[in-house]
Subunit: 320 residues, 2 copies
């Protein structure tokens, strides 16, 4: 069962003492080794498929990305998926109008010149094991998850064969995986299912559930400054201080490379909330609507080109 | 010219190496020593006037404080102003309905049992030097600045004899000074005059001007999480990284003691944005609407009872 040596090296490299990703890495290793679907896996190193300048990535988009003018983020996804060689799977399951939103993205990627586009219009969990779509999940070079409702997306796709394959291929660096809005929210192991705004941070301000675990170490919030979500992401991080909070503005993307470095792309900012040095929170003790104390957060606001490494919990010099 | 020794000690004590308050302290010392109004000052130590348990404070209130039920914050102001011995000056100048709002607070403090209440209903800058009101500013034990428009308040009051007297007496610990909403915004040397929300941090999101300089080291924002103002306070702090950002939610107060320690009181949270360790911002270089980078902010969310020292830039053990 040939797991690429690079992947094993990545998952077993020394742990940064301030990082708490050791357990999640163990889990990922365990999943890699134990999942039955691995038996059918024929790993192909990405370099064999695509030019080096267009490596795969996980692209987490804060919603409302430009679909009309420069299409900077969608163009980047297209290139990272192989450009004119791209075979793109669109997953519109978060939406209540999957046919319409699926077609919208199909048109965009068709205009860009993608080689093949399939809309995985999965309407129930059984279809998540559909062999044609499973084959395309195996053959594609890029996967795009649309907006809608993240709970809908997860209830339809989590622990289906298709999602297991997509997660594994994304984690192995074989495909570029992008998600916008609801499609961004699902990226972590813990997911913000919903919540409120306009209040002080408090436990009732955020509903947490399981996400798809593409990048287990993070909790994503989207439409971030646009919809006043700082307090809810802080409330989420107070509940899961082993995670890193990533708040992504509209038409903005946190693009993760295989080494855990991500770059901010687009019109707005990516906010990082790092509780690694947190000295106190009253979160476990207080009632659900009581205001939270959260002391000693490290916060970064990243604009286009800024880079940050998830595992080092530190900024990385930008490539400008 | 007897400046209390405690005040001099406070202003000349050793500087925390990570703090940048040295210059502002020098400025305060210079002001204390040089202002002509000092010549008329007959400092009286606060202990001579009020019981020890009710020391003076500067109370910065995030707006919409409870005026009906428990009135926790207003009750605290009343007690800190001397309780039944309180002589309270209400400054309604921020409001376009100064008579109405002034009467509202007069009723509240009358019900609580204040000894004397005057509404300094100053309608132009000349009245800011009115001798009757100046005498009451000298005689009062508490000053309350209402909400409204902070620009209106500053244009009417800054550099008037009455405001000079109030600032000095507050800084000397002779009176309790409270401001809510617009009355809170004016507390710093730099003030947020207005701005937007719902955008990524950017220079155009916040309009800065001079405040009344009661606590020069801070930039205050109010109605904080309620009105999605994290991005604008971050934008202000990127422009003035020698200041400390204080975001105060509604019905919440940051109550400053003479030693620079403040305590969060009330229903919501006080957010501290400390750029003391900031490693990078693109603020000076970018166009006004470009998104900002701000790296390595230290952020604290304080709830009721939490305490923080402005000069040490550190949390202080709560008194619970």
């Amino acid at each position: 069962m040939p797991i690429p040596i690079e992947t094993l090296q990545r998952l077993t490299r020394p742990v940064n003492p301030t990082s708490i990703d050791f357990r999640s890495r163990l889990e990922r290793l365990f999943n890699l080794i134990s999942r039955p679907i691995m038996l059918q896996l024929k790993p192909q190193l990405f370099q064999q498929r695509m030019p080096e300048l267009t490596k795969t990535a996980v692209m987490i988009i804060g919603g409302a990305e430009d679909k009309v003018h420069g299409r900077q983020i969608l163009q980047t996804f297209f290139k990272r998926s192989g450009g004119e060689d791209a075979r793109i799977a669109i997953i519109p399951c978060a939406s209540r109008e999957p046919a319409i939103i699926g077609d919208r993205y199909r048109e965009i990627f068709t205009e860009m010149g993608a080689k093949q586009i399939e809309i995985l219009d999965i309407r129930d969990r059984d279809q998540g094991n559909h062999s044609d779509w499973l084959n395309f999940a195996e053959a594609c070079t890029g996967v795009f998850m649309t907006g809608g409702d993240q709970l809908r997306l997860c209830s339809m796709l989590s622990e289906t064969c298709i999602m297991d394959k997509i997660r594994m291929r994304a984690q192995l660096g074989e495909i570029t995986l992008a998600g916008t809005s609801a499609g961004a929210a699902v990226m972590g192991e813990q997911m913000i299912a919903g919540g409120g705004s306009g209040e002080s941070p408090n436990r009732a301000l955020v509903d947490m559930t399981s996400g798809l675990g593409i990048i287990p170490e993070i909790i994503v919030d989207q439409h971030f400054h646009n919809r006043n979500r700082m307090a809810r992401l802080m409330s989420a991080i107070a509940a899961y201080p082993d995670k890193l909070g990533i708040g992504i503005d509209e038409d903005t993307c946190a693009m993760f490379e295989a080494d855990g470095t991500f770059q901010a792309i687009g019109k707005g900012t990516v906010t990082v909330i790092d509780p690694g040095e947190m000295t106190y929170t009253n979160q476990p003790q207080v009632d659900t609507t009581e205001p939270l104390s959260v002391h000693n957060l490290r916060v970064h606001v990243l604009s286009h080109g800024d880079r940050y490494n998830l595992y080092k919990r530190a900024l990385v010099a930008p490539i400008r």
